[in-house]
Structure formats: structure tokens, C-alpha cells
Point group: C2
Chain length 176, copies 2
């Protein structure tokens, strides 16, 4: 992995940092790019004991509406992806999970951002108590896998990490 | 779609704008978020006459390496997604396509960004001449669908729009 030659910091925030980064390109040229640096995240597809998937409907200011997603969160400093999703699953849904199985990984927006999200499937779910943060508005939306795939096909699930988790999980179920 | 109550602009760039946006939440609270505004983009899965998929390997400064992707670009002001992918396909691969079929849509990073990417499948490919921009380093990487899905499973294709395009296209091929 190459590093920027120089970085002109623009903004250091709570969630993201923005910088103007000058990079040496493999073609010998040098160019400057607007780059968002993000600590990375983790997201989890929770499977309820009855086989349904525990999606959530969450208000997203960037989109200005409630949208379907899987539970997810940003990595705290030094936190593993597994610890992160275990924490977020309880906070956002009120469910504890006995087991987390890796379901791959993704870069969300490589054109301008380094955010990587590690995906998991959670099983062995037991209800406890949810504790969403004050700026999180979340409703539970359990659906069958078949229905979830319909929602993807009909562009009613647009969130990228959620589409990837559902589609990769569906392939595993169909090709065990 | 709700709008921010107020926006404190932080940065207006070539690709992205960053603002501190205060939003009224559905739970009655008001909160401020770091939000990236992006004009949106379009991406295309090109199918070669021999059935292989025309992936590209592209250097991405944010990730610091060459990565597998499908051709994609940012919408110019007033440009349709279809015009955008037709332009980007020629620029990045040197192939003209006779037909573009919608393959759904995605939000890349809803936690902090409004970027939406519309996906297409391109068929009827004819070779012409590529014209990548000076800051684009791109190699063609034609692969079979089977091989592309292996690369997804092995986390060698991590780009979100590329994973979604491949997985949605595979479902269409498997359930015609």
C-alpha cells in the first residue's frame, strides 16, 4: 500500500478526516485528491431463531429518511470488528448473539474514502435490552431471506453493506 | 426526504462537499452530523462478446493500491446515469457498448455520505480507443463470472459497487 507524498489537512472530525492528498501514481504522474479517512467499521446480519433476518429501519440524516440496513458501527480505537458488531447488535436491536461468523469485507466508496467494513453473520440470538444512542432512531424489521432479496431487487434496500451481506449470505445458503 | 435545519459549510471541493448539518430527528431530538455531499455516480458491468466480464484494475489513492472494480464515474451536472457510464466505459476500457440495462442502485456510505450509484449491465461491446484521464491508472482484467464470484468470496474484490453488481448479475443469470 502506497502512502500520500504530502497531505494538506482540511478537517479533523468526530467520524471522518478530510485531507488534500498528493500521491505518486503508478504511471509516474503526481496528482492531488480529496480523501476522506475513516477508522473503518463492522456490520452484522443477525439470524433470528425462527430463521428470519433481523434488519433494522434507521433514520439517516445524509439520506433524510428511514432506510433498511443491517446493524453496524464504527470501530472504536483499538477495537476488533467482532467486538464492534457485538456491541452494536445489542445497542441497536436489543439482541445478544452467541456466535459471529465472518461474511467478507468491503470498501464502501474507494473513489474518495478508505472506509473498510467487515461483515459478520450473527446466530444464537437472545433478547436482552436495546440502548440506542440519542441520535439513533431505529426500528426492528425482521424479514425472511426471500423477502429481503425481493427488497434488494426492487431497490428498496439500497445500502451497500446491507446488499452485500444479504447477497453473500444468500449464496452461502444456496451453495452450502 | 427531510432536509437539514442548518448547514455549516466546512469544505466545497472538486468531488465532494463537507458540512456540519443539524437535523431534526424522528424522535424529536436535534443533532449535528458530519455529512459529505456527493453528486452521485454510475457504474457498469460490461459483458464481452465471449461472455467474460470486463473488470478493470485501477489505482486508488484512498486505498493506496491497484484494486479490481467495474468502470464507474461521477455524474457531471445535468448528466444522466446512462450517459455517464457510456462515457466512462469508453474512457476507461476503450469499449463502446450497444446496450445498457439497469442493474439496480446503491448508497455507498449512508453513515456520513449521500452518494448514490446507479448500476448497469453493458452488452454489445465493440473495441474502440480508451482515453483515461491523466490521474487514472487502469488495466483491463477480463474474467469469467465464476472467477469473479470466487474473487468476491476470497475478499479479493472488496469494492462495494463491484460486489453488488457481480452478485446481482449472478442472481439474474441463475434465476432468469
Amino acid at each position: 500500500m502506497t502512502q500520500p507524498v504530502t497531505t494538506q489537512p482540511v478537517y479533523a472530525g468526530r467520524v471522518i478526516d478530510l485531507g488534500l492528498e498528493t500521491h505518486n501514481l503508478p504511471n509516474g504522474h503526481q496528482s492531488t485528491f480529496e480523501i476522506i479517512r475513516h477508522p473503518g467499521g463492522a456490520a452484522v446480519l443477525p439470524i433470528l431463531p425462527d430463521g428470519r433476518l433481523l434488519l433494522i429501519s434507521q433514520f439517516r440524516p445524509a439520506i433524510g429518511q428511514m432506510i433498511y440496513e443491517i446493524p453496524a458501527g464504527r470501530l472504536e480505537p483499538g477495537e476488533s470488528s467482532r467486538t464492534c458488531v457485538a456491541r452494536e447488535l445489542v445497542e441497536e436491536t436489543g439482541y445478544f448473539a452467541a456466535e459471529f461468523t465472518p461474511l467478507g469485507s468491503l470498501w464502501s466508496a474507494v473513489g474518495f474514502c478508505d472506509e473498510r467494513v467487515n461483515l459478520f453473520v450473527a446466530t444464537g440470538l437472545v433478547e436482552t435490552e436495546s440502548a440506542p444512542e440519542i441520535d439513533e432512531v431505529i426500528e426492528l424489521a425482521p424479514v425472511t431471506l426471500e423477502r429481503a432479496l425481493q427488497l434488494v431487487e426492487q431497490d428498496q434496500i439500497l445500502d451497500s453493506k446491507t446488499q452485500i451481506a444479504l447477497l453473500r449470505y444468500a449464496r452461502q445458503c444456496e451453495n452450502p
